[in-house]
Symmetry: C2
Subunit: 255 residues, 2 copies
DNA sequence: TGAATAGTGTCTATAAGACAATATCCC
DNA sequence: GGGATATTGTCTTATAGACACTATTCA
């Protein structure tokens, strides 16, 4: 570039005086948190990791895993830390979703929350939310205004819809719409599958995200023409019918 | 919904005790700011409002208009306030872009900045940045890695590329890519035009955003088929050739 | 009348949808 | 062999790009 200024090189006495006199804590400021929407796709539905709150506010309600951003970590790092601490996951797809900053979204105090979403294949979530636990669950995700622009999402537990804390229903609605929008041009379907998969499984993931059936022929053609799939030569086994070829996702760099 | 908990109704003594004991200012926290990318399209280029910094850091560099978020306003409201104060604009398209939260993006202190972008027609920017002023300008915007996924943008003033403060080159790069991605399915081209416009002008705006020529016939067909345009019956005047019909953008609601 | 762009109609190439035919596994 | 799904090939239809032709304004 050569265009950006280099602040560290510009250590004039004038600047040093300015920095010394700058009172960083002079004003009230919001807290900054990250919330992570950890998603997986299984059984034709998206599932999201939720934890039950044992304190006020929204005591007993279900919330996304989150935490406050530390002074020595970036937002991305904070989201990765939350994912590591709450789900023992690292190295997964993790991307910023949107930042929620309503004045009263947390009744305790002003909290600006940067929402992230993570995508992981079901196999990596074994043990993260064992059935039977009441404090955390993988809830099935459904949209309220199906097919509409705005609207919240609903999370279903074993006994029906779960009460969601804060504005987390809005976050969940936004993440589904974001996925649907990105699916056509970003390689996000692969993030929800193991390393090797059949075209049928990939289509099932896409159908799960879109919430509707897709044309098999067109899907197959589009995927193979897209140049992001590499045939392994191997085939699935023990399926009770003709086994399909296993494919692998190849990044642009590896092509 | 009926699923969300209602915190205000849940005023048990237990909750009141909790809220009273909650120490909101116990921890260090980042400052929260908004930066606004105010864009318009003219002469085949996108233009962005920049102000020259007269203080450290990045003294003399060019920055997006921005400001700290107040405790009594949402992020959207803060962005609208900045737009009103710095450009005397209200009621324009304004949408969140991305949140930048690198640890050292501001050398003074930790600042998390929520970037917004606003779109206005050139006519509404008359007087906002008069030529000749040295403290603010409407800079022509160009992408660095044209056609690539990532990469910064460059802002050109009268004398060439302007040095951009903070991570604002990254914000500008992101806004161009966001616009290109949204153009196909969101009605954002209209936001950069006056209320009535010809198809040729609309195509010029799309070409400006995409940075490449578009097929005239296909563009025309697609726009007319999209159902978002209403012919006014009037035509442009004084153009030195056959005048084109004037169209108006109609929202879904008005259809 | 000429220059310049608007607007229409038609042909072709490409991608999507539908559907039939064949292939290959497990039981 | 029968059941089930994979895979291939073909036909039809919708859309994008190319291009020719006509229309309308101002100079």
């Amino acid at each position: 570039m050569g265009q950006a200024l280099e602040p560290t090189r510009d250590e004039s006495s004038e600047e040093r005086a300015f920095l010394a006199s700058y009172k960083a804590s002079e004003f009230d400021r919001p807290s900054v948190a990250v919330d992570v929407v950890l998603l997986t796709a299984e059984g034709g539905s998206l599932h999201v990791l939720l934890t039950q709150r044992d304190e006020h506010p929204f005591k007993g309600g279900w919330a996304l895993p989150g935490g406050f951003v530390r002074m020595d970590e970036s937002l991305d790092e904070a989201a990765a830390r939350v994912l590591q601490n709450k789900a023992s996951l690292s190295g997964v797809f993790l991307e910023q979703l949107y930042t929620f900053g309503g004045v009263r979204r947390d009744p305790r105090m002003r909290v600006v929350s940067v929402a992230y979403y993570a995508l992981v294949e079901p196999g990596r979530l074994r043990g993260v939310a064992p059935t039977g636990l009441t404090t955390r669950c993988l809830a099935r995700l459904g949209l309220v205004g199906e097919g509409e622009v705005g609207g919240d999402a609903v999370a279903f537990g074993a006994d029906g819809a779960l009460p969601l804390a804060f504005d987390h229903a809005e976050m969940l609605g936004m993440v589904v719409r974001r996925l649907r929008g990105k699916l056509d041009y970003a390689p996000i379907g692969f993030e929800l599958l193991p390393e090797e998969f059949t075209l049928r499984r990939l289509q099932a993931v896409h159908e799960t995200i879109m919430g509707r059936a897709l044309n098999k022929d067109a899907f197959r053609r589009r995927m193979l023409a897209g140049g992001m799939l590499q045939a392994t030569g191997r085939r699935e086994t023990e399926v009770g019918h003709r086994p399909a070829e296993l494919y692998r996702f190849i990044t642009k760099a590896a092509r």
